[in-house]
Amino acid sequence: MTYLDYEVTQLPDSVEMIFCKPLDENGVRKGLDEQQMKILITLLQLSQDKIAEMYADIKSKHWLLAIFESRLDHIGCKIDKASRLLLSLSCSTPGTLVMYTYYIAYKMKQGGIDELSLDRLCEDIFPVGFFSEKSLQEYWDKQKVNPGKNPGGDNLLDYSKASESLLTK
């Protein structure tokens, strides 16, 4: 695996240019599986109140959903609860969740979208489905940084400075 130089963590558009743009251009998408499709239809039909109730219930039980929310807030990315639930279905690791967070922020910036609804998530961001596991793994490896003796870890996506160009607030 090739590691990025630590210096890229200090550039404000590294996440956008090194991770989001290539993933958008070359990432392989796949259609929703049967269960995801059923859940999507369910989410489209439920009232906002019921979705909010369900969301709060799930969030109280699963920390990753709360962490997803925290990351979205951190970069000022506003997406509705139904969208968060649908996206989370495709997240098998915390890394996947974080990759989707930045990718969505990138697409929202590109499309001039201030607040993302489930309709727009499906129509504008993922019209042909979410990324394949293989693609996600490939781009996960590509965002790895060699931190050397610097603190901060080996994931470009964890460096606040590197995602400043995606901030909306």
Binding site: Q35, K38, I39, I41, T42, Q45, L46, M54, I58, K61, H62, W63, L64, L65, A66, I67, F68, S70, L85, S88, L89, S90, C91, S92, T93, P94, G95, L97, V98, G152, G153, D154, N155, L157, D158
Partner: protein, 50 residues
Amino acid sequence: MSDNKIDEIRTIEEMVIKYPNDLDLGKKLREYFVAKGIFKKTIAEVKENK
């Protein structure tokens, strides 16, 4: 699950270390939807509305 505050989580690595049993959110959400019988309820509601 841990009772640590969310704000304490800063990096992906920390998430993995702190929540080793709560990682596959997608799988857990699918189980949640199935367990709650959400699909059946929705179908019933659609029929009711017709």
